[in-house]
Amino acid sequence: MGYRDYVTIETPPADSMDIYVMGKQWMWKFAYPQGPNSVGVLHVPVNRPVRLLITSRDVIHSFYVPAFRMKQDAVPNRYTQISFTATETGRFQVLCAEYCGTNHSKMWAEVDVMTEDAFDTWIKDQQRGLAHRQDMGGAPGEVAPVADMATEGQKVAAEKGCLRCHTVDKAPMLAGAPSEQHIGPTWVDLYQRKTKLSSGETILADEAYLTESMMDPTVKVVQGYQPVMPSYQGNLTGPEAAAIVEYIKSLRSDRVQTTPLQGPTYEPITNR
């Protein structure tokens, strides 16, 4: 009864390309981990699985691409996700499908499915700032258009004081070395790491966990650490939090990985 298809749609493949989608009255903005921002046009390469991480700045919107039969609500203060693989190049309309006020019926965008080469060129052009300015831009306070999101995340993390407690040193940790010199878990290899919590359960450190740890750190405390982290709710904007997440994701020895890495020494190593 459609359940299997639904699960397929809702579960992105592990090697999906992530794109952040932000809906706000009455426009759609897109942010790429590799750096560019765009407003109103979502560029994706053909035949690559894409995962959209969708959120809203104000009220509930819904990201709807009729040609893809794809729709997911954009809810403020949380990320929803949906994945797709475009199989044909071309431009496809995006409509907002959750009533959001006066210009709900004009909150349109486009998905521009390009060939791999065209997409790579576009990314590079964006990063060099040479691209057509038509579909770039952001309000003041947004992530700067040509900055790599991970670099921006590094800047924000330093500004907000995250690096006072979390290390980002990629030097290898000694096996068996105690970790009390660090106030918080290291960010190196943190993304997708199986993390043991003080409650005893083991969770996967994905985007949701990282974002939650920023907003409500006392909910899930890593075993071996004190619950001293302050909450950043209200202190970090959506793009800033996303940038930090991207920065954390970049702190890996192998950038493209499909299996979670083994964490540092404070995590008890059980039989693997």
Binding site: M1, M70, K71, N77, Y99
Partner: protein
């Protein structure tokens, strides 16, 4: 038992509930359930006209892809009010308030409902709630959509709190009506009327009342929460303070999904009666139809999550809600099979109510099937929040509920007023309405499937042709309804006398038409069930029709 259509002409009764007191005060302070039913009839027809007027404006606006006759702010208010007025002021109160009030006590052999004064209070709460709602709509407006999702509704500058206060009062009206009917059904059945002899109309109203009593308080709460957040800044659904807009959706739909069964179960109840009367056959499977009403009511409580398939709930929850939603289709199908089984080889009286039943059956099958399709989670991703959903629920609400309302209005017109309606005009109007309905809403399925979202003031140009077709159909529909109103009002004053023109053996025809104020001089004793056409029940005690 009842005079056959060719019996000697009876005279219009001298004393009946309509001339038992003719002052305005005797109407506005009545505790007679039949008069209250007529008060409801006038009110819901006015509400329907108002909601229909908004609908016509919407369809006019949608004739062109860009602005046509109103601006976006006005359009957003139009569709919000169309929804609010139609749902809360027409669909929910209409059949229970009019036919439930009028027929239920008589069908049970009772002289009134259990709490007549509470019944009158229900009507006054309806009027007060409607007044508050419309006042808010006029002073400040409402542009949130009838579903008033947060955070848009809590941050909108329109008169959200006022309108929601009106909705709260209307909720009380609904609860008290349901409570009244449940108690009446339990305690005021005449001697001999066991649960297995209750007319199927009563079963349907009873199931509706259960939903009204259990689900409406949750709406009351949600309305209060949003009103307080909007008016006073309580931050229960404010994301910045940690609030969860999805919690609102869960609480809202926990009422609003059973609410659609409040709208449809009474219409099925009417259909059960009309089908039996107009085919002169007892219901094919009485127990199946009776219990499927209860089944729909019960299952309907657990299906609300199908409105949240794309809101980010877990896949597991989505799967559960999808499966449960499909279960409702099973009960509806049971009813449809039974109705068709009753019509088969029946002695059909081909007339306006029968035409409406045909329209009902045909369209409810499609409406119901699209419902099951929408419950298919993966398909719903494409169709939710588009015109496909709009077409689906209008198929049920207009084609099913409204046509059943019209069928009941015509079938029971002689009962309520003692007059005949003009059959020729009625048949013509029913044809126009059926055609107009199809022309209005079938294009909307295609529109939704092609990708047009709902609540759209402007739309991409490729959707224009279907929109024009839909608007044309709407004009036809409006013409049909106007026709019905005109000839019914004329028949009210100039129609010839009729008492049971189709020879129905429903229990409501045991009293004179129109009935006396207390329905029965002596309470009848029931020895068999309703709609027994096969044998003439010789031993049934008839109440005296003494005037």
């Amino acid at each position: 038992m009842n005079p056959s259509p060719t019996a000697e002409a009876r005279v219009f009764p001298a004393k009946h509930y309509l001339n038992d007191g003719t002052t305005v005060r005797s109407w506005l302070l009545t505790v007679d359930h039949k008069r209250i039913a007529l008060l409801y009839l006038i009110s819901v027809l006015v509400a329907f006209a108002l909601g229909g007027f908004f609908a016509m404006l919407i369809r006019l606006e949608l004739l062109t892809p860009g602005p046509t006759i109103v601006g976006p702010l006005a359009y957003n208010r139009l569709f919000t009010l169309h929804g609010m007025v139609m749902i809360f002021l027409f669909m929910i109160p209409a059949i229970p308030g009019v036919f439930g009030n009028f027929m239920l006590p008589i069908m049970l052999g009772a002289k009134d409902v259990a709490f007549p004064k509470l019944n009158l209070l229900s009507w006054y709460l309806y009027i007060i709630g409607a007044a508050i709602l419309l006042f808010g709509a006029l002073h400040g407006g409402l542009d949130t959509g009838w579903t008033f999702y947060t955070p848009y509704s809590t941050t909108s500058s329109t008169a959200v709190s006022t309108c929601l206060l009106g909705a709260f009062v209307l909720g009380f009206s609904s609860i008290l009506t349901g409570l009244n009917f449940i108690v009446t059904t339990h305690t005021l059945r005449a001697p001999g009327m066991g649960w297995h002899r209750i007319p199927l109309f009563v079963w349907g109203i009873y199931a509706t009342s259960v939903i009204q009593v259990l689900a409406t308080p949750v709406l009351g709460l949600v309305v209060l929460l949003v009103a307080f957040e909007h008016a006073f800044g309580f931050g229960l659904f404010d994301p910045a303070r940690g609030g969860d807009p999805i919690l609102f959706q869960h609480l809202f739909w926990f009422y609003s999904h059973p609410a659609v069964y409040i709208m449809v179960l009474p219409s099925m109840a009417v259909v059960s009666e009309v089908v039996c009367a107009y085919s002169r056959k007892n219901m094919f499977g009485y127990a199946a139809v009776a219990y499927s009403s209860i089944g729909i009511a019960l299952v309907g409580f657990f299906a609300w999550g199908h409105h949240l398939f794309v809101s980010g709930q877990s896949a597991f929850a989505a799967g559960m809600f999808g499966s449960i939603s499909m279960l409702v289709g099973v009960f509806t199908a049971i009813k449809v099979f039974n109705w068709v089984g009753t019509l088969y080889r029946g002695s059909i009286t081909f007339s306006a109510p029968f035409a409406y039943i045909c329209g009902f059956l045909f369209f409810v099958v499609f409406g119901g099937m699209t419902g099951v399709a929408l419950a298919t989670v993966s398909l719903d991703i494409a169709w939710t929040d588009t015109y496909f959903v709009i077409a689906h629920f209008h198929f049920i609400m207009v084609a099913a509920t409204l046509m059943a309302f019209l069928a009941g209005l015509h079938y029971w017109f002689p009962k309520m007023f003692g007059k005949k309606y003009p059959e020729g005009w009625a048949m013509l109007a029913s044809g126009i309405i059926i055609l107009g309905f199809a022309a209005t809403f079938i294009p909307q399925f295609l529109l939704g499937n092609a990708g047009m979202p709902r609540r759209y003031y402007e739309y991409p140009a490729q959707y224009q042709m279907l929109n024009v077709a839909s608007s044309a159909g709407a004009s036809l529909l409006a013409f049909g309804f106007t026709l019905v109103l005109i000839y019914l009002v004329i028949a009210l004053f100039q129609g010839e006398y009729a008492d049971n023109p189709v020879g129905s053996r429903g229990f409501e025809w045991l009293t004179q038409s129109p009935p006396i104020t207390h329905n029965f001089e002596t309470i009848p004793v029931f020895t068999h069930g309703p709609h027994e056409y096969q044998e003439v029940p010789a031993e049934m005690t008839e109440p005296s029709h003494a005037a």
